[in-house]
């Protein structure tokens, strides 16, 4: 195997940082479900999904520290950056809400990630290609989990149908940001390291639409307002609270290990 390139490429690092931050922040949110799921079995399922995402984040953030020339570790990046330096989309930082909301969010996010990683297996960056190959099997399962639940809640009782419909509408304003191209992703697509987020939209939407149809739900209307700015470090109100909870131990006791 060829040695891993250590040349500084800050746009590539920015691109991978966005992917890593998506996984890291959503892992943190999903961890909140432990002891809050409808049954202990679902606590386990969502914790497993979160741990898969955390593993992806670790590998991706580690690569960022190599590519941006700073040599920062995964922990440096996770615990010692401030809100404006995080590049995750708004979808993953939104507060934990009802179970239906979580399944709608997971359906969109896992389906998006599945298309993303399937494409990134051909990345010119061997680390990124390796992470994508392993993660693809994980997100395949995440997508299946969300799909199974949306089908059951949508095609379940009147109450579950209505709640699932509301949840789809609540998630809708955060979907478009997943597929927005920016300077970092354009450069990454040009060099063959990454893919244009907009290129993932048709396949992602097709899967979600299939699930929504089969679940006897209506496709939610496009909202007039929609989230934007996450990839530029502009976040919504819940992000600060999430970071405080995620980072405060590491910042209170720098260098602590266990």
């Amino acid at each position: 195997m060829a040695p891993v390139s250590r040349a500084v490429d800050s746009l590539a690092a920015q691109y991978i940082l966005g992917l890593g931050d998506d996984a890291l922040v959503y892992a943190q949110r999903l961890g909140e479900w432990i002891s809050h799921g409808p049954q202990i079995e679902e606590d386990m399922a969502l914790a497993n999904v979160g741990l898969d995402l955390l593993g992806q984040a670790r590998a991706l953030l580690g690569r960022v520290g190599e590519l941006d020339g700073t040599g920062r570790s995964e922990d440096d990046l996770a615990y010692f950056r401030d809100e404006r330096e995080f590049r995750n989309v708004h979808l993953v930082e939104q507060e934990r809400s009802g179970f239906g909301f979580e399944m709608a969010r997971l359906l969109w996010f896992a389906t998006y990630q599945r298309e993303l990683y399937a494409a990134l297996r051909a990345s010119t960056d061997e680390v990124l290609a390796g992470v994508a190959g392993k993660a693809l099997k994980e997100v395949d399962y995440h997508r299946d989990h969300a799909t199974q639940w949306v089908l059951r809640l949508g095609d379940g009782t009147q109450e579950s149908h209505a709640r699932m419909q509301e949840a789809l509408a609540a998630v809708q304003p955060y979907v478009a940001e997943l597929f927005e191209d920016d300077a970092a992703s354009a450069a990454a697509a040009d060099s063959g390291l990454g893919v244009l987020p907009s290129s993932l939209r048709p396949a992602t939407t097709a899967w979600v639409r299939g699930v929504v149809d089969q679940a006897t739900l209506a496709w939610p209307e496009e909202s007039r307002w929609r989230a934007r700015g996450g990839r530029d470090g502009v976040h919504s109100r819940p992000m600060g609270y999430l970071l405080a909870e995620m980072q405060h131990i590491a910042r209170s006791h720098p260098g602590a290990t266990w």
């Binding site: 049954q39 079995e41 386990m44 399922a45 497993n48 299946d144 199974q148 059951r152």
Partner: protein, 101 residues
């Protein structure tokens, strides 16, 4: 979902989980869990019982579908076999030239 009495079921039904390990020949009972239906029970079993690569195959069965012997019947069921040692194949000599036995 409702029970036979017509009351809505407050909790998901119980499922028994059987896992076959990598080197195992048969599925072994590993525990039980709750799930709304068989498809979700398989997935829950994957999440609860195979997190550490314990298995390559899972069976689930509704706990209520399993007919089990009763502890009250134990004497009648199992004790009569206790003094019938002749049912064990230990009372004949195996010729030396019989292979693979």
């Amino acid at each position: 979902m409702s029970t036979e009495t017509g009351q809505p079921e407050r909790s998901w039904p119980l499922w028994e989980v059987f896992v076959r390990g990598k080197r195992g020949l048969s599925h072994v009972h590993v525990g039980s869990l709750h799930a709304p239906d068989a498809v979700m029970a398989l997935r829950n079993a994957r999440d609860v019982y195979t997190r550490r690569q314990e298995g390559v195959s899972i069976w689930v069965a509704r706990a209520s579908d399993i007919t089990a012997s009763s502890p009250d019947e134990r004497d009648a069921f199992f004790d009569p076999a206790a003094d019938k040692v002749y049912r064990h194949p230990t009372f004949y000599d195996v010729p030396e030239d019989v292979e693979y036995l």
